[in-house]
Symmetry: C2
């Protein structure tokens, strides 16, 4: 099977124009089929402030009311996504910018209201690969922002990490998928204060041990659970670290393996 | 050659949610390859006001500075375009939402500064049909908003009527293209106050006569010049009127012919 690279970039890269341009220039040179997935960074919060739309957080999570969804759609699918695509074109990487409603690629359902009403937040139901495959085999790079839809006219704010892993799982039927989570740290760290303390390999048994020892905790646990789930579903390889891990073989990062 | 319908909808349809939904429901039923082109309506102006970004007009034209371009990108490519695509999906029309940077489809250059500096406004240099054709032959409907790019990383605000006619011209090599300009009036009117006074056919010689008589004047002249230019460049048919002209054979509209 042909290799497919799915690369997710986080907020810190998007918020820094120089870093983003430098990343996109490198990303454009990656050979073979590839997909970019990006979150939103601080721009959505900044626009909300300018528009006097209050940011509502419950238990550390942003609540997406109708006005916030509009802001997210404008910032993620408009400003960030289209500027990313324009830059990729500059670097001779022919890209199309998608949300999950484009080509009906990512179908979700609105998260049910329980204790908390998250508003217009989507949990992914399925990834439709037909349009994605069509574009990939025609040498087009898809740049996804973190928005899905419910097939009933409703856009939904959706976690970018989950979009990346669900794309990876769905496309594993046709490709040998490598999933790269790029963020500001060098990987999963033994000591969160020390960026050189990268754990270079994690598998299911060392993961359990690292959790037992309290080295992996809190926010990292759902992220890694998600990675192991994707590996069970035939994703070949998952890497976590700085974007440079994609382009420079001397860079340390964390590789997650079954 | 296969027929291709290119349908441009104006601001008045976009600004009215009920009218837009009703139009999209009908549009989704149109058989065969089709492209939607939309402008922006009043939403961009409203967002600029909320953000305290002054709207600068010179000789009746909006100046697109960097902040205004951001607003246009957020509103046209984000909010309006993605909600249109989500609704088309609801009505079982598989669509992708594009600017001219997506798939490198519409290449423009920044309008040169003369007496007036229009800012980030693009004049179309060429339409690249390869990605458009790929999508159309795979039963995907493209929804274009009025933004192009310069292939050097810069998005550019671009007239939606011109995007529609340049798409029509470029795609006339592969398709028998019908171009529909939908707006709030029933067509080109003999008496601008009387919506029943539709001129049903205009050709080059009657156009000259209508101009001489002062029946066609001002803003209508560049629009119609544009139409005749497209017809010279092998576009088959151009229709101007209410969106209903596409779906109801009893509706009067203006047909422009060579």
């Amino acid at each position: 099977m042909e290799k497919l690279k799915i690369v997710k970039i986080g907020g810190n890269i998007i918020d820094d124009e120089t870093q983003l341009t430098s990343f996109l220039k490198d990303f454009a040179t990656l050979k073979g089929p590839k997909i970019l997935v990006h979150g939103g960074g601080k721009l959505a919060t900044r626009l909300a402030e300018k528009m006097n739309v209050p940011v509502q957080m419950i238990e550390g999570r942003r609540i997406t009311d109708a006005e916030t969804l509009d802001i997210i759609t404008m910032v993620y699918a408009g400003k960030i996504n289209k500027n990313i695509v324009a830059q990729l074109q500059k670097f001779k990487c022919n890209s199309v910018g998608f949300t999950g409603t484009d080509g009906n690629t990512i179908v979700a359902k609105k998260r049910p209201i329980t204790k908390i009403d998250y508003g217009f937040v989507g949990d992914i139901v399925r990834v439709e690969v037909s349009v994605i495959n069509l574009l990939l085999i025609n040498d087009l790079t898809i740049s996804f922002c973190a928005i899905s839809h419910d097939e009933n006219g409703q856009l939904l704010n959706t976690n970018a990490d989950t979009i990346a892993s669900e794309l990876a799982i769905a496309l594993s039927q046709e490709f040998d998928v490598e999933l790269y989570y790029c963020f500001e740290k060098s990987g999963v760290l033994k000591n969160v204060e020390d960026d050189t303390s990268v754990i270079e390999h994690i598998n299911k048994s060392t993961y359990q041990q690292l959790k037992n020892e309290g080295i992996i905790y809190e926010g990292m646990i759902p992220k890694l659970d998600n990675c192991f789930y994707a590996l069970e579903k035939n994703v070949t390889k998952i890497c976590i670290g700085k974007p440079a891990m994609l382009f420079n073989s001397n860079i340390k990062f964390t590789m997650i393996q079954k």
